[in-house]
Subunit: 338 residues, 2 copies
């Protein structure tokens, strides 16, 4: 079954992914700061018990039962945070389905951190699925709720709907033309957060921005989804316009993109950080419609399986950094030739 | 007709080219330092007159009649020196055949600087051809000769045979292993010169060394050729041995070579100096027998037609540096696809 991460979503020339996250706490269970070991265990037991009733092919997995390499693959896929993966003091778990588009963290900051992922732009779909699952769990285990503050969360910034919608966007042309500054300003004035995401292995920005809502209180889920969709569509429009302008100096871009492709195709070893940079360059090529030798799905696959932990999972054995650099080049060649 | 420069000669994994040069001065004509304009002209007229009798398809060309771009192509092919090409104060000429393996400079340091070139290792052949031509000219115009000093030249270091044999060798592995130091020492102790040649556009050494004789006096042409052949064969043997040892870490080399090939194949523009470096890297690949996508003849062709003047000749028009960078990438692609 294809992981959501490998699918090619809507507007994928600009939008990498959509994530909807809902934070909830279960009535009658102490919150993180007051949880004893027994409280943590009690919550896990309860969640484990109801997992089959939730459905969606979700499987209950305690983090202590997941080996380190697999945990790192989940971090690399952005399904769980590094802190959550590393925390060996608390009793934690996840509910995960095979497509990995639903990942619910248990005993993170809140009792329940429900996440729905989608490739490309899919705010409505992700939001609806998240709410559907939230309802289902809520019927099995009632949430803490206040008339005044809505759903209660560990951190008051999540009070209300407890919902955060995040969009990952590749804003290469806006970044390059400098127009990104205007976009950042406008988006922030509209009550949204937007911030640059830096590559994992490198200090250089991959021109990736995360757009998400600040507000969770006093706004309905419907309205929130509508607002963030409107803003995102505006940004997509602006980015595409900027790309058209940049396209006038197409040769420079073509040279950059095709050199990256040449290295990708012919290297015999490649480090994680160089690979990340090179993949960002070839992605420019498919996004701008000037590289025909690859497509978005292949690039997504390369982006995933060249990350250290996922690479080792993919080839089925543990390797040191030097061996990985060689395997990485082989996996890339394999995906190109598919 | 194929220029000698583009042919693939013997031992071409190590030896780039062989050049035999003979310096002569014509009896009864003043030497460079004492030549008046009229003397220069008189010599040119005389040489022009006898050119058809020399044969070998040689054409008499006054340098003032050659356009600058063509002059630069001759410099890039190492047929004439930059100083000779640039000297617009003296009346100078060359005798050149279509294959360009014979190039005789008139009114350079000596009246006659006869050069015979060959790709790869061809000391005997080049020496015999040079002597044959030297004899032919000497019968038409007697040379200055002394019983004590042999043939008289402008600079006393060329007295005697006036013959210099130069071998261009690619000593990558000896350079890399550091064993080159021992080779340099041995060669110099045997009375030969050996020096590193640096790339034209770059500060980095391309691991190319020129081996040539110091002595011209008191040694016959036969003995000289024999000596330099022996030394060169020893160097070839040492270089091949060093390559075998280096080959143990083949992956590093393969990575370097194939990355260079990837850039060569996919770049959309490339500068002269980067191109020189990249071509040296792919040449490693064919020399070491690890790059199958190219061969020596194609690399030679790329090396020639990516040089600024030859590039413009090849595409048939003058271009500025930026345009040339684009044309260079196109010409490379064309040669790869041939």
């Amino acid at each position: 079954m294809l992981s959501w991460y490998l699918e090619s979503g809507k507007e994928n020339d600009v939008i990498i992914s959509t994530r909807v996250r809902i934070a909830r706490n279960i009535k009658g269970f102490p919150y993180k700061l007051k949880q004893s070991k027994e409280d943590e265990k009690a919550l896990l037991s309860k969640i484990k018990e109801i997992t089959p009733q939730i459905g969606y092919g979700l499987k209950f997995l305690e983090l202590k039962d997941i080996d380190d390499l697999t945990k790192m693959t989940l971090v690399e896929k952005h399904l769980i945070s590094p802190e959550f993966a590393m925390d060996d003091k608390r009793q934690t778990a996840i509910l995960l389905n095979d497509e990995e588009n639903i990942c619910i963290m248990i005993n993170e900051e809140d009792h329940i951190r429900l996440q729905v992922f989608s490739s490309g732009l899919a705010i409505e779909e992700a939001k609806n699925l998240a709410i559907e699952i939230e309802n289902k769990i809520g019927k099995l285990l009632p949430y803490d709720y206040s008339e005044k503050y809505g759903f209660i969360t560990s951190c008051p910034t999540n009070f209300g709907t407890g919902m955060r919608i995040s969009i990952m966007a590749q804003l290469t042309a806006l970044d390059k033309t400098g127009n990104i500054r205007k976009v950042l300003e406008v988006v922030q004035n509209l009550g949204m957060n937007i911030r640059g995401i830096y590559g994992e292995g490198s200090k250089t920005s991959a021109n990736i921005y995360q757009i998400s809502n600040k507000q969770t209180l006093g706004i309905s889920e419907e309205q929130l989804a509508k607002n963030i969709k409107q803003i995102t569509e505006k940004i997509i429009e602006q980015e595409r316009l900027a790309r058209k302008l940049l396209g006038k100096n197409e040769l420079e871009l073509e040279d950059k993109v095709y050199r990256a492709y040449g290295i990708l195709k012919y290297c015999r070893k490649i480090s994680s950080s160089e690979c990340e940079k090179i993949l960002a360059d070839v992605k420019l090529g498919t996004d701008f419609g000037i590289l025909n030798e690859l497509n978005d799905a292949k690039i997504k696959k390369m982006q995933l399986y060249t990350k250290p932990a996922n690479l080792q999972k993919f080839i089925g054995k543990k390797q040191d950094a030097y061996e990985r650099d060689i395997s990485r080049a082989n996996v890339i060649k394999q995906i190109i030739d598919e």
